[in-house]
């Protein structure tokens, strides 16, 4: 459901704390490590 949402990284010292649509989502290290960033043409 977060597909297409804009995501900002708040803190990445302990797992990753994301800012998704204004709410905080915490991901554990395993999940954070599995994230692949795909560059898209602007």
């Amino acid at each position: 459901m977060y597909e297409g949402a804009s995501v900002g990284i708040v803190d990445r010292r302990n797992g990753v704390l994301l800012d998704v649509c204004g709410s905080r989502l915490a991901l554990d290290a395993t999940m954070a490590g599995a994230i692949v960033v795909d560059p898209t043409p602007a």
Partner: protein, 638 residues
């Protein structure tokens, strides 16, 4: 007489203030918490508005209308009119958390697309200044094409308007986002967020820089990989110590009251079997359970405060690292923690775990967490057999023994979970995503009503089931009568002769290897209905009268009990430790068994899980009691 004419369903993201709004609307108290997903079942209530009864359904929180976890399925079914045994809903009320508007709008657009009468409630507008946001409500109404009512559910602000709009909603043409061309492809999340971003740009003004909230600075410490767990352990330690400092004087006060009540009864009623039944049986049995109300209330108060402040989700995230090697995830941690209070709501709280096998494993081990009903047993045995020695300035040996009981239970639960996840319930552990709600000051009114609700359930049990069991136990302990009114026999001889005594003698071969006698056997058998009955049974069997010191007196009698003939103590310290171990591990609670059956699939399937749960815990209980007894004997605790 009015009858329900308007059916309303509250829909919203987890932790958007939906349940608070429900309580404010209907006046019915429902559990409200700050951990996403605590509303695990639906709750119904009603209010009367201008002569019409409005029946309100509070649905579990969901992020979207595509069901993922079991509790989201409930919402999905109701929204699509497929829920068994429920009338169709007339008006949907979508509750939005103003602070998390962007994400909340996702669900709102999905509901609005259904084309049914809908009222959108913009909740928590009081928090907008702190979040450095401004929302243009008029613009939002235009964008959504629906009624939008700003409100603050906790202070009841805007509630009249919410009631008014609900009443008018069926006459207002429903919003049709699809027809207005707002969202053309209902299933495309990307398009939906593009549309929502556009709406956000028009309606929301941010006054501060995004991404640096004050809660982020707090989280940097509380979620820290070293400080986080340490802070968590410190919080728990302080809480448990406070529990005993505050609860003990309150419990003594209750005992004082019960003592004078039985004195009054003794004065009013003529001596005889009936007097004994009322005072020793009923009042004694119920009273010995009621004195634990302060402890139970404080435990719920503490867990409730943690939930409402938002810390519990942080704790779940911090604990995830430790749960993972066991095959559980951070979300399993909340049910396990709730298990300290009572296994029944804890098992129901596992519905927030979407993975079936992780959920089953959590259910199977939750009853190993020492629940509040075990407290009476622990306290009795510890005060009887552990010396009241002070260590340092604040800690006592008895307090440490009690802490040890909780630790044993917790370790056993975690170990059992690891075993289940590696054998019967094997699967990959999924990664964790958990929402961190903004920190909030717990509302005292909401918190107290939650505590009262829990205490009321406990008191209701004490007044009905435990009362009936106490009366029956008294009868079983007094009949068949050994003596005659003219030639009475000793209390102990009467008990040995009675039905209860005979049951105890029958199970004695099973408890003898644990260093226990038939009297404890009786109490153990009786407490298979509910653990706290152990204390009342022992009180009945030892004929401890209801005075201000009932527990101290019963503890003293247990300690001083001598085996007939030999004059040696009936219960050695080693046997008492073994018995404590038994109570840490045994599943003796019919309510827990019932809820396990229900939550693991019901029918034969559920019954099989419940049977497995009951038997593995019984084997564990007896085995560890035996080991503890033997080891303690060898160490000289005879």
């Amino acid at each position: 007489m009015t009858r329900p004419t308007l059916r309303v369903a509250l829909i919203g993201n987890p932790n958007c203030g939906k349940s608070t709004l429900f309580n404010a609307l209907t006046g019915r108290r429902q559990k409200v918490a700050n951990f996403p997903g605590v509303t695990v079942e639906w709750v119904e209530g009603s209010y009367v508005h201008e002569g019409t009864t409005v029946s309100v359904l509070d649905l579990p929180g969901t992020y979207s209308l595509s069901p993922d976890a079991p509790d989201e399925v409930i919402t999905y079914d109701v929204v699509h009119g497929r829920a068994a045994g429920l009338d169709p809903v007339d008006v949907f009320v979508v509750v939005l958390d103003a602070e998390n508007l962007e994400r909340n709008l996702y669900l709102a657009t999905e509901v609005l697309e259904l084309g049914r009468p809908t009222v959108v409630v913009l909740n928590r507008i009081d928090r907008l200044p702190a979040a450095e946001m401004k929302v243009d409500v008029v613009e939002l109404i235009h964008a959504l094409g629906a009624i939008v009512v700003p409100s603050v559910a906790t202070t009841q602000e805007g509630l009249d308007r919410v009631r008014h709009c609900i009443a008018r909603a069926p006459d207002v043409p429903p919003s049709d986002l699809r027809a207005s061309g707002a969202i053309t492809d209902g299933q495309n999340a990307e398009r939906r967020y593009e549309w929502i971003s556009a709406v956000m740009a028009r309606t929301v003004t941010r006054t501060g820089t995004r991404g640096t909230r004050s809660s982020d600075r707090v989280d940097a410490v509380l979620l820290h990989r070293v400080w986080g767990p340490l802070i968590f352990v410190a919080v728990m330690a302080i809480a448990f110590q406070a529990l005993f400092l505050v609860a003990t004087p309150l419990a003594s006060l209750l005992q004082l009251g019960l003592g004078s009540l039985s004195d009054v009864l003794r004065g009013v009623l003529p001596a005889g079997d009936f007097q004994s039944l009322l005072i020793d049986g009923a009042l004694g049995g119920v009273g010995s359970v009621i004195v634990f109300v302060p402890q139970i209330a404080l435990l719920f108060l503490f867990i409730g405060a943690l939930e409402d402040s938002g810390y519990l989700s942080r704790a779940a995230f911090v604990m995830d690292r430790f749960m993972r090697p066991l095959g559980l995830q951070g979300k399993s941690f909340i049910p396990l923690l709730s298990g300290y209070a009572c296994a029944v709501p804890a098992i129901m709280a596992t519905r927030t775990i979407p993975q079936t096998k992780e959920r089953l494993a959590t259910i199977m081990v939750v009853p190993l967490m020492s629940c509040s009903a075990r407290l009476p047993v622990y306290t009795l045995l510890i005060s009887a057999f552990v010396p009241a020695v002070t260590i340092g300035y604040v800690l006592t040996l008895q307090g440490l023994a009690l802490l040890a009981m909780y630790i044993f239970g917790t370790v056993a639960a975690l170990a059992a979970a690891a075993v289940f996840r590696r054998t019967l319930l094997r699967s990959d552990t999924r990664a964790l995503i958990i929402e961190m709600p903004a920190y909030a000051k717990p509302t005292i009114r909401v918190l107290l009503s939650t505590v009262w609700q829990r205490v009321a359930v406990f008191l209701q049990r004490a007044g009905t089931v435990i009362f009936a069991i106490s009366v029956l136990l008294w009868a079983m302990g007094h009949y068949p009568q050994a003596g005659t009114p003219s030639a009475p026999v000793s209390e102990e001889a009467q008990l040995a002769q009675s039905a209860l005594g005979q049951v105890g003698h029958a199970v004695e071969p099973l408890v003898r290897p644990l260093g226990l006698d038939w009297k404890i056997g009786v109490a153990m058998v009786a407490s298979f209905a509910a653990r706290e009955v152990f204390v009342s049974t022992m009180a009945t069997m030892y004929g401890v009268p209801q005075h201000e010191t009932v527990h101290t007196e019963l503890a003293a009698r247990l300690r001083d009990a001598r085996a007939p003939g030999t004059g040696r103590p009936t219960y050695t310290r080693a046997a008492a430790f073994g018995l404590l171990a038994f109570y840490v591990f045994a599943l003796m609670c019919t309510s827990t068994i019932a809820v396990t059956v229900r939550e693991t699939g019901g029918g034969w399937q559920g019954a099989r899980w419940a049977a497995l749960q009951f038997s593995y815990m019984l084997v564990l209980a007896w085995g560890s009691a035996f080991v503890v007894y033997r080891v303690a004997l060898a160490l000289g605790a005879g």
